[in-house]
Amino acid sequence: MTLNTPILWVFLPLVISLITGIFHRRRIFGVIATCTTGFGLGTLAAFFPEDMVISIGPLTLTFVESLAILGRQIIISYQILPFIAFIYFATGLWAVGSARPSVPGSFRPTSLVVTALLTAALGVEPFLYAALFIQAAILFSIPMLSPLQSKTHPGILRFLSLQTLAMPFILLAGWLLSGVETLPPDSPLIVQTMIILGLGFGLWLAVFPFHSWVPMVSEKAHPLPVSFVLFIFPTAIALFSLNFLDRYTFLRTSQGLYQSLRAIGVLMIVLGGLWVAYQENIKRAFGFSALAETGFLLLAIGLSDQMGLSWLLMLFPTHAINFWLWGFTLSLIETRTDTLSMRGLQGFARRYPIISSGLLIAQLSVAGLPLFAAFPIKIALLSAGFNVSAGLGTWIFIGSLGLFFFTVRLLNDLVTPDNELTTSGWSLTEKSSVYLPILLAILAVIIMGLFPHVILTNITDTLTTFNQLQ
């Protein structure tokens, strides 16, 4: 029996999301179906045999890596499976978090659709058509960020507008790229093409000055879907962007491009760090911190001559666990307090110590504190930055301090007793269904930090997809 890999990792999750979408009010069913699909497809991708043949008793399944649609192809090759495994595991992880009743019912089916569409985007040939799949994923993410019961806030409209504007730029850049390969390096058309391509990716990745929707959406929408969106789109788009470097020699060899990427990356790190440092609202702080993390993704690509691409891929799992923990704890805090301002959270840690610890550890891990998940990669990027120039390294360091500063401020407010409450002592009030996932995530954050080469290096095999970038 012959099957196509795109049917398994694109069409099957779409069908399952349709079923969970129809029964979106049945929360437990939705959680089980989405978790099973996410973890199941992730496991299958992680342990898929290289010869693409699976034998179950008398049944032999032979897989073909491509599927033709309307004269074009979707190819899910063996080389990209580590990444596919990773994003499906991450989707399963977020589905676990969505078991909380406060999470919008639309999140589970749409998260699966988004993952399936992004998988298709990474496999479609010609690869430029990925822009349309990414746009479709963006459209599907609207119901999870702005559920039917909530008010339509300006941030979501800005998100939709800016993300939609990106698609034409990418398609246009794709058309221009096909013509500029044969031109001399000093042709003005090359610079124009790079600008159009840069605008497209800038809009997609919410690079300054197209970032305004990030804190707005982060403040108004439910934290768990926000953390999913802020994780999965930059991750998939960063990997998609490597296609351009892999296929076009003039881009790959352009020192100006790498310098620009480093400069924009550092700008994002510094601005994100400064913005987050003085934030009063903890949900907005998450948005600004995500902007700084996008800066690290760009910086890693810009440092590709110093193993930056390996660091880029190793950043993805740390982002997944950190963002999940951050989003999950924020969603728990939101249901337990009236306000999400720093002042309003005074004494919160005394009543909910594990939720508060989860939030603080997520922030410290994103900031790159030693022993936590992001530290090995952040320190490597910082060293690479200092290798390029002392100025670059210094700015990365300054930008990274922003989140540390914010976390210290938050810690101070969380442990300060609230004068309005009669009891100011410490008490453990969380139930096991609340603290167990948080403790497991904290454990994962620490294990990733202690054994990065065991946990994080598998995903770097994805680089074998890009023949010129290995």
């Binding site: 649609i69 309307l70 004269g71 074009r72 058509y129 349309l132 799949f133 746009q135 479709a136 459209l139 599907f140 609207i142 119901p143 702005s146 039917l148 909530s150 008010k151 339509t152 300006p154 409209l157 939709l160 507008s161 939609t164 504007l165 698609m167 034409p168 398609l171 246009l172 058309w175 221009l176 003005p188 058309l189 124009q192």
Partner: protein, 202 residues
Amino acid sequence: MDALSTLAFSLIVITAMVILIFRDWRINTAALTLQYLAVFYLVTLSWPIGLAIVKLIVGWMATAAIGLTCLRQMDVDTPIEPTSSLFFRGLAGLMVILVIFVISSTLQETVFPNVDLVIIRSGLMLVGMALMQLGTNALPFLTIMSLLSFLAGFEVIHAALERSTLLIGLMASVNLGLALVGVYFIMKNNERNVVQKEEENK
């Protein structure tokens, strides 16, 4: 530039200006319907009618979805705006037209040498007006209309550059998806308004 191309271009300028200036969903829906007709003609300059008609059908379907949802809305009355707002937006639209006329020839010479000037001007006109609209309002209905106009403008130019069945299909899906998101936003606001009014009546 033949007579029909000129007519299509004029129709695009007029409808884009109407969508930019007015906030009434009835006027805007009618303008968007006519705009897709002009877009269809301009796409036929690059593609066979059989393919170009997809743009017309998808565009009209998207417009119908938004228009019919607005029709079912509880609050159909559009607030009356001061003349100064209309005048300001009209002036902004005229500036966009001026800028497009200035840059389109240069753009044709440097980037799109094989594309007809009327196609470039029409596409840019839609893109420019849509961007102006996106910058001057925060209403879900108008945002979606602007995005549809923006994509229509891009499609007019891109049709002259590339032809692929999958691309046509995917662009059609994106346009319809955008219209559905618009319907979702309109319905969402309407439901909230209904709940609010019911609470006020109690």
